[in-house]
């Protein structure tokens, strides 16, 4: 036998053995074979869009499939790509962090449904080795805006010290490494909208969006990470860095989360309660056929003393008419199931919408026809 064949066989055998062993151990931990799901109509729903909802949809899809035998395939390709695939009828539904723009909405007015079916928060994470684990850094929009503009260079800047009198002596004289999303994303949209609304002019209007040109780039202290996982990894790896990620990533990776000053001048940490408080003021349209493009503005930096200021929705986008009656039925079933049962299985890092959204889901289920 040729020596290269031997090398390949040995490597493949080692990897295969390790994989088989881990798979077996995992299988045993899960308690052996589980019962097979009752097979139903065998309908498959195709979805695509925001990566933000992906873990939650996977959770819902597996529970929904166990219950009704309807399979849901979701491709986490990004909000924009999801919308594009939806309008080209490649997929049956899309998920998008921003709702349809006003132009798109009026173009398809009456034939497209959208529902803000899940909410999440953007959290500010930091890596300062000097700070003990039980302390929480407090920041306000002006401080964050000045850091992301490159005006605040060191962690022991007077402005940050004044916000954190209890930590003032521990803040190091080190340059802040500023981490942001390099890809265009709804997370960046929420973050920059908050900076614009809450910083009183320090963060200008033209720097709001899903993908912007960061002023701090000009100082060479800015680094972009692709996706939440990219930003998370850079923050973990880089001492004295600051970044913003979706809440669930910060929890999973045990990052230090900053308390943010809300509109009532209280410093609030993200939590289920503080997010629900933030959603109390949400202006959610009365029908899934309405224009949703104003909803973000009503949630971010909303008045209310306990609300966390950086939260936002992600929308499911559906056609009103489906050619295939089975598909229409499956979608109706899915929407009703989410409204009635699905919100009991919301993963950590997300928050279920207010009661009015459940009514929207039921209404949408009634509107879908084939």
């Amino acid at each position: 036998m040729k020596i290269s064949t031997v090398v390949v066989i040995v490597i493949v055998a080692v990897i295969a053995f390790a994989l088989a062993y881990y798979a077996y151990a995992y299988y045993m931990r899960q308690g052996g074979a589980s019962e097979l799901p009752a097979s139903n109509k065998g309908v498959i729903l195709q979805g695509a869009g925001a990566s933000f909802v992906y873990p939650q949809i996977v959770e819902w899809a597996s529970r929904f499939q166990n219950r009704y035998g309807i399979q849901i395939n979701y491709q986490s390709v990004g909000s924009g790509a999801g919308q594009s695939m939806f309008f080209q009828k490649v997929v049956d539904f899309a998920c998008s962090d921003p709702p349809l723009s006003k132009e798109t909405w009026s173009k398809y007015n009456g034939s497209v449904l959208q529902i803000p079916w899940l909410f999440g928060a953007v959290v500010i994470v930091y890596n300062i080795p000097e700070l003990p684990n039980n302390t929480v850094l407090k920041l306000d929009a002006v401080a964050i805006a000045r850091i992301y503009r490159g005006d605040i260079v060191y962690w022991d800047d007077e402005y940050i010290k004044n916000l954190n009198p209890d930590l003032a002596s521990m803040l190091p004289h080190k340059e802040i490494i500023v981490v942001y999303r390099s890809d265009s994303s709804g997370t960046t949209q929420l973050f920059t909208t908050f900076l614009y609304k809450a910083s009183g002019g320090v963060w200008p209007r033209e720097l709001v969006g899903k993908s912007i040109s960061w002023p701090v780039e000009a100082s060479g202290r800015g680094v972009g990470g692709k996706g939440n996982e990219g930003v998370t990894q850079i923050v973990i790896q880089t001492p004295y860095s600051i970044g913003y990620v979706e809440w669930s990533y910060a929890i999973k990776n045990n990052l230090s989360i900053a308390a943010i000053k809300n509109a009532a001048d209280n410093f609030i940490l993200p939590s289920k309660e503080s997010l629900q408080a933030a959603l109390e003021n949400a202006e959610i349209p009365a029908s899934p056929l309405d224009d949703f493009s104003g909803i973000l503005d009503s949630i971010i930096y909303a008045p209310g003393k306990d609300g966390y200021p950086i939260a936002g929705p992600t929308h499911i986008i559906l056609w009103r008419e489906y050619e295939d009656p089975n598909k229409a039925e499956a979608i109706k079933l899915f929407l009703r199931w989410i409204a009635e049962e699905g919100y009991d299985y919301v993963l950590e890092g997300y928050v279920a919408p207010p009661e009015s959204v459940r009514e929207l889901l039921i209404e949408a289920a009634d509107l879908v026809v084939s």
């Binding site: 040729k2 020596i3 290269s4 090398v7 390949v8 490597i11 390709v77 990004g78 909000s79 924009g80 790509a81 919308q83 594009s84 921003p98 723009s101 340059e175 490494i177 390099s182 890809d183 265009s184 994303s185 033209e206 720097l207 709001v208 969006g209 899903k210 993908s211 912007i212 040109s213 960061w214 780039e217 000009a218 060479g220 202290r221 800015g222 680094v223 972009g224 990470g225 692709k226 990219g230 990894q233 850079i234 790896q237 880089t238 860095s241």
Partner: protein
């Protein structure tokens, strides 16, 4: 005859994709013109685009990658062809071939987790401390994610490719040259030097092909280059490359006017550069083969 449609369809796909890319980039070229290539701002929200930083970043990163690939490939080639015999030669050769087959995502994860912090602590920081008066090393390495890291990581990933090309070139030199060297009393070292100088055009061609390949490297670039629209003479600063920009921005480009078209333009530029480089390299190789073979 029946194989003709299959063999020609690949050519057709290539031509069609070039036409499509040209068509899609036309819009951006008409709207922005040459301004696309002289600015480094990327703000789709207000419709401002600039490709200068990613283009410069791509070229610098690829040149560095080729440099590092050369540093490792040349000794590897000589070791494999001249010094190793029998079973050890086979083992080393098959390891190099295996490295070429590893998916780039593996290199990307390894580079971003281990290589970048290593380079930052043991290469960039000492260089910056000692030679900060040289512009290349003038900026303090903030995170390690930088042009240098990306160049090094991509360089490692193309070593197997470049080495394979070099070994092939080395082997295609007729044995008569080597015999002649030893025949006139040259030492082994002198023989290797003569053999290398004979294969210099082929080595150059291998490097150019490696350059074309590293221009298109995406996964590793996205994970190591720092993804920052920042133009600097310093190798330790974060930057961007064109493939990293496309990977980062394409998903949501549909939401903005002209954004897709601008990305197609950047694809067009990279494609033109790598097609030209590949063409140039293969002309060198063909000329060299016809001259060297006796």
């Amino acid at each position: 005859m029946s194989l003709l449609p299959f063999s020609l369809s690949l050519l057709a796909i290539l031509i069609i994709s070039i036409i499509v890319i040209m068509q899609r980039s036309l819009e951006a070229l008409q709207v922005f013109g040459y301004r696309l290539f002289i600015s480094s701002t990327w703000n789709p929200e207000i419709g401002v685009y600039g490709l200068l930083a990613p283009l410069v970043g791509s070229i610098v990163t690829s040149l560095l990658a080729v440099f590092f690939a050369l540093v490792f490939s040349l000794p590897l080639t000589i070791t494999i062809t001249e010094h190793l015999r029998g079973i050890s030669k086979k083992i080393v050769t098959s390891i190099v071939e295996l490295m070429g087959g590893i998916p780039t995502i593996v290199y990307a994860v390894w580079a971003s987790q281990y290589l970048v912090p290593f380079l930052k602590t043991f290469i960039m920081e000492p260089l910056h401390r000692m030679f900060s008066f040289i512009p290349l090393f003038s900026c303090r390495p903030a995170t390690g994610f930088s042009v240098l890291s990306a160049g090094f990581a991509i360089g490692i990933s193309i070593i197997p490719y470049v080495t394979a090309l070099m070994i092939e070139a080395y082997h295609s030199i007729p044995i008569a040259y080597k015999e002649a060297c030893y025949g006139i009393g040259a030492t082994r070292y002198e023989t290797i030097r003569i053999m290398l100088s004979l294969s210099r055009p082929a080595i150059l061609a291998a490097l150019i092909l490696g350059l074309a390949r590293s221009l298109g490297e995406t996964t590793i670039a996205v994970a190591t280059v720092g993804n920052s629209m920042y133009l600097s003479a310093c190798l330790f600063a974060p930057s961007y490359t064109v493939p990293a920009l496309i990977a980062s921005q394409f998903a949501n480009a549909h939401l903005y006017a002209h954004a897709e078209s601008v990305l197609y333009t950047s694809i067009l530029v990279v494609m033109l550069i790598s097609v030209m480089l590949s063409f140039y390299a293969s002309t060198i190789l063909i000329r060299w083969r016809s001259r060297i073979v006796v």
